[in-house]
């Protein structure tokens, strides 16, 4: 945690360092009052310009400023609202995709035939660009939460299916023989052996799914038939305003990544709790 914070600070230093070397002139104070100080960096790099990389304090200031002229709501408050909206869709997508993945893995582990028949399509599904699929889904399910949740779950079911199938087949063959010697049914073997044994694998997949669900929700919102609200819509809107206010888009990007980190940490916490008696099976 401390390391992660240290890295964040290092990133900010790097960011401003690039601007100090090759950014646009730094201006402090007010030219009207006559106390303006100007620092001109030695180089001129497109990538470090104020348009590409706004100063971090400009982003900070933008967060406190109103989201639009004539509006009271600050950009920060607006983004928190958007993140909650998107987070809700992503969470729904996470659960729907997660359950679909669990279900598919449960079917595949019991039927080689089903696995051989359907697994190629599970894999193929992920080769279709989500950008191409999202408008189709929005067209089919309308402008609403349903379509967006489907896009989010489309991205989450895949890692869960793959990892969970691996997890369900992970028990030692002798553990299965032990269950057989107790005349355990498939159902009992599934719940008392396969499921608990799969948890480390499941959580590895859920951590991927947590962040993927947010990407899915944002893409779902951002496509033409998507949503009026949420981070995806904000990102598109701020993208249009990028020429005049690049820091707004950066603020939206920051909000998206914070939401992703929050999701990740929730899953991680659940993982640490669920695997607390299994040292060695909890990965970072």
């Amino acid at each position: 945690m401390i390391l992660a914070l240290a890295f964040f600070i290092a990133l900010l230093v790097l960011w401003e360092g690039a601007k100090a070397l090759g950014g646009d002139p730094w201006r402090f104070g007010d030219p009207a009052v006559g106390n303006e100080i100007v620092y001109t960096p030695p180089f001129q790099w497109q990538i470090a310009s104020d348009l590409s990389l706004p100063h971090v304090w400009r982003i900070w200031e933008a967060l406190a400023a109103p989201v639009q002229r004539q509006q009271e709501q600050s950009l920060a408050a607006f983004l928190v609202g958007a993140a909650l909206y998107t987070g809700r869709e992503a969470a729904l997508g996470f659960f729907v995709g997660g359950f679909v993945g669990l279900g598919l893995a449960a079917v595949f582990v019991h039927s080689r035939l089903a696995e051989r028949a359907f697994m190629p399509y599970v894999v193929a599904s992920q080769t279709i660009p989500i950008l191409a699929l999202a408008p189709l889904i929005a067209f089919a399910f309308g402008n609403g939460v349903v379509g967006i949740v489907i896009v989010a779950s489309y991205l989450t079911f895949f890692p869960v299916t793959i990892a969970q199938l691996r997890g369900l087949t992970s028990p030692d063959p002798r553990a299965l023989e032990l269950m057989r010697s107790c005349a355990a049914s498939r159902w009992t073997i599934f719940w008392k052996l396969r499921m608990p044994a799969s948890l480390p694998y499941l959580f590895a997949a859920l951590k991927i799914a947590a962040t993927a669900s947010i990407v899915g929700a944002i893409v779902g919102e951002g496509n033409p038939g998507g949503s009026q609200f949420g981070l995806g819509r904000s990102i598109l809107n701020f993208n249009e305003q990028y020429g005049s206010a690049p820091e707004k888009l950066w603020a939206a990007v920051l909000a998206s990544s914070l939401l992703g980190i929050a999701f990740f940490l929730i899953v991680r916490t659940a993982e640490v709790f669920a695997l607390r008696n299994r040292p060695g099976s909890v990965a970072a």
Binding site: R174, S181, P196, A197, N277
Partner: protein, 289 residues
């Protein structure tokens, strides 16, 4: 509890009857004959060891008794019914070389597993779990998790689990093969005590001649693949056997007898003739596996 008998078998009372059993594995293009025409009967309360070189099919024979694999020919009868039915009736307890504990379950919960599967309810289940943990002297570790236990303790948990349903037959597949010699000897004494307390029939697969002699009522010596029973040696050492037993002449004599049989030097045994040359070199050195 019951008195285990080292007495020879009576035809009616057999727990296990193996009749003309062969096992062939299909391995790609060729076939591997693992076992050939095995006949063996095991009486109630007997402690029978299966010993032989690696790949002689002794584990396969154990798995056939437990219906974890099916014979290619012949029949396995357990408690007067086919092995499959005996398994469905939960007549078996099984212990592997590895403890195979469920690492998400406490010691207690691991021992309770077979009881849960059978549907034994709350208080009765707790009572049985406590009884089993007492039997393997692990009551103080009921709430521990497998990773907190030594290898020997883990194996004792797996023995408690195997005995939880009070099976009429306990199958042990090289249960102490992964333990150091000192722990192994201690575990041998413990298994003898548990066997005497419970009166259960034990079929015990091992690589170790001293272990087989120390524990068994009878030692079944098997030949290299295809596995056959070369000879069944009665072990007439008095019970309970102790560390002192390990220093008696009779003990050494029996070890020598088993070893010589494994080497195939018994002239009166037609099966061993012409087999000496094909024995692996390790056998000729006197160690098995």
């Amino acid at each position: 509890m019951t008195n285990p008998s080292d007495a020879p078998i009576g035809p009616r009372t057999d727990v296990v009857t193996i009749a003309g059993v062969s096992k062939v594995f299909d391995a790609g293009a060729g076939q591997t004959r693992a076992l050939e025409t095995i006949d063996l009967a095991i009486a109630p309360g007997e402690f029978v060891s299966l010993i032989g070189p690696s790949g002689c099919g002794k584990s396969t024979l154990l798995r056939l008794i437990g219906d974890l694999t099916e014979p290619s020919a012949g029949s396995v009868t357990v408690n007067g019914k086919p092995a499959r039915q005996a398994r469905l009736d939960r007549d078996y307890g099984i212990v592997f070389q590895a403890p195979v504990l469920f690492d998400w379950r406490s010691v207690e919960a691991n021992v309770a597993l077979p009881l849960e599967i059978k549907g034994v309810s709350g208080t009765e289940r707790d009572r049985r779990v406590q009884e089993m943990l007492g039997l393997v002297e692990l009551r103080d570790f009921a709430g521990h998790y497998p990773y907190q236990l030594s290898g020997g303790m883990q194996q004792r948990v797996s023995i408690a689990r195997a005995l939880a349903l009070q099976p009429s037959i306990l199958l042990m597949d090289e249960p102490f093969g992964a333990l150091d010699e000192m722990t192994r000897e201690r575990m041998n004494a413990e298994v003898q005590r548990i066997w005497q307390q419970t009166g259960t029939t034990v079929v015990f697969v091992t690589h170790s001649i001293p272990e087989a002699v120390f524990l068994s009522s009878r030692v079944v010596v098997m030949s290299p693949r295809p596995g056959r029973i070369v000879r069944v040696i009665d072990v007439d050492l008095p019970r309970p056997r102790t560390d002192d037993t390990r220093e008696t002449e009779r003990y050494f004599a029996l070890i020598t007898e088993v070893r010589e049989t494994l080497r195939g030097r018994r002239d009166d045994d037609p099966l061993s003739k012409g087999r000496v040359a094909s024995m692996p070199r390790t056998l000729a050195e006197g160690s098995v596996g």
